[in-house]
Symmetry: C2
Subunit: 366 residues, 2 copies
């Protein structure tokens, strides 16, 4: 017995094409994943043809990404080819499906080279961000292992997180979106937020900033509202009790102390070297680019994939580094590292002294 | 024990990059194959990075090509997207690696739709033909089955056909190229060719046409010289005793009778319906676009892949349909179908009455 059925693959493909990307006839849709996502990729290819669009599959083989990081020369690290640019400029929609062979594949890659690559690819990223785009995840054995689950349990977990187990997944996403719209409206009136939990007492300001309702169109799953805090406003200490796995590096129990927006003390029980190196990347890496509130009650525990973990209902996440311009945030950095603080065990979020309910207590999202 | 070793994969990748495509720093190299060629694709990716080029892998998944033929709408059959055009226009070199899951995958596809697709893609094909390009084959279980061999025997056969078993494969190809250059020079002086074998007596004219030395740079393996015969010159009857598998359709024992260049009688012991339908495609489909002479003594039997079969040392092939402009041939058609006549059992090729030795009797190509 397997938890994931062919019908789930079809429903996922339809959700991605219609709810997430709103694919229209004649559009060129670039879909990127690994060979492990073959069933979903084939279903997407068919679904895109049925919608009279152009499916452009970019299928990664085992080992190729690792080889690239190991073998790329200056040219490949610091520039990009004209065909990569044409793709980014001309595609109408982009779908990236995480389907790892090994979630630690880049653990031995040089972070300096990874950062160099991210910097040189920034113009391509900007081109893509102007279009419809979505990131999602396909359950693989490596993903299950990272989550500490069997493959069947992990597939069932992914299905629940994406609402594929609901009668009408798109309707469920619209319902969550409506709840989040109300939450974002309430937060838009706030000046100061305070995060309290064991070992955590941090304040920051969000007045004048825009809260984004992440309703599953760009991240599938989503379940988050976020903004960019005022860059010099964070004060206090926060403990991120949910483990983080940036680029396959295990980092646990990060504690950061901020003064006037800047990190003045930082330590991690595991991965401290990575933490210190990341903070030293550039000036913006020591300031916050994002505060997000997870609302997805279908995600009840971390799986080691930030796409899911930051959406856990009852958590807050802060990102070191680059802010999203649509929030009004202006922090610039090559870094954007989300770190998660769990409020479910006695923690709370207050806005100007008033507790914020970060999830609906009734209805579909319990 | 397996006949194909990792070292063979590395040698094949190096041969393709250097001898076939002459890859230079900064070039964008588009490589197309299926997931079954993963070991070669990974080796090529690394080899291209080592040569400071941009590897662009386009990896096909099982079933996707069949789905495309079944599901494509008018738009996809009659046009192409701007990204496909940008790839064809901007890539510096193209490598296509046959690595079929099933050599009969398109046996049920509608030939009209296949032809429509070929017609609409012709501008892309033309763009690619102006650059360096090469077609090759990677041994797969389906390829072995088509050849009637075990996988090990088939891998060893492919290795021999590509000269990967020689000390210096590129040097072996240069040696065959030099032999073929002399053969092409001798044929350039000919006015009339006559092909004689059991059931075959056909004459055609080649004066004024250019003989192309196919020395392994565009087809790997190659081992062929070819030209386009004068379009109204073929007279007589020819039997193609080597089976043909155009697009996965089995066609055997084709017999064609020509009068002044045009097919006036045609039959096939197997696949006659396909033969008749192909001849009816357009006016050019009833005339010859090519005569080629196979010289590769590493290929001693047909395997059901035209890339190999037309190179068998001691065979002649004629193509119905489109000629290659570089030969001086002017026949136009959506069809280009190579059919092979075996001369090894008492047949012969004469040029203005003189027997043509189509292979060296000494040296590396025995």
């Amino acid at each position: 017995m397997t938890a994931w059925r062919d019908a789930d693959t079809e429903r996922m493909a339809a959700l991605l094409c219609d709810y997430c990307l709103d694919v229209q006839p004649g559009q060129q849709v670039l879909v990127r994943s690994t060979t492990l996502a073959a069933p979903l990729l084939r279903a997407l290819h068919a679904a895109l043809l049925e919608r009279d669009a152009w499916p452009l599959l970019r299928v990664e083989l085992p080992g190729v990404e690792e080889d690239f990081h190991a073998l790329a020369r200056d040219r490949q690290l610091d520039a990009f080819g004209s065909i990569a640019e044409a793709e980014a400029a001309q595609a109408d929609a982009f779908l990236t499906i995480q389907a790892p062979f090994n979630t630690r594949a880049l653990a031995d890659a040089d972070p300096q080279r990874i950062a160099r690559l991210a910097r040189s690819r920034a113009p391509l990223t900007e081109l893509r961000m102007r279009k419809r785009w979505c990131g999602t995840l396909w359950p693989t054995p490596a993903g299950a292992q990272q989550a500490g689950m069997s493959e069947d349990a992990f597939a069932a977990f992914v299905r629940g997180a994406l609402f594929l187990d609901r009668d009408d997944p798109a309707a469920a996403w619209r319902e969550l979106g409506a709840f989040q719209a109300r939450l974002a409206e309430r937060l838009s009136a706030a000046r100061e937020l305070r995060i309290e939990a064991e070992g955590t007492d941090l304040t920051l300001r969000v007045d004048g900033r825009t809260w984004v309702n992440s309703d599953g169109k760009r991240n599938m799953p989503s379940g988050e509202v976020f903004t960019g805090p005022l860059e010099d406003s964070a004060n206090g200490t926060i403990r991120f009790t949910v483990p983080s796995s940036p680029r396959g590096v295990a980092v646990e129990d990060v504690e950061l102390t901020f003064r006037d927006g800047e990190v003045v003390a930082a330590r991690a029980a595991r991965g401290d070297e990575y933490l210190q190196r990341t903070l030293a990347t550039d000036a913006g890496a020591r300031r916050l680019g994002e505060i997000g509130i997870g609302t997805n009650r279908g995600i009840d525990r971390p799986i080691g994939a930030i796409l899911f973990d930051e959406k856990i209902g009852g958590t807050i996440h802060l990102a070191l580094g680059r802010s999203y311009p649509e929030t009004g945030g202006v922090n610039q950095s090559a870094v954007h590292w989300d770190l998660i603080c769990d409020l479910r065990d006695g923690g709370r979020l207050t806005a100007d002294g008033e507790v914020v309910e970060t999830h609906s207590d009734a209805g579909a999202f319990e």
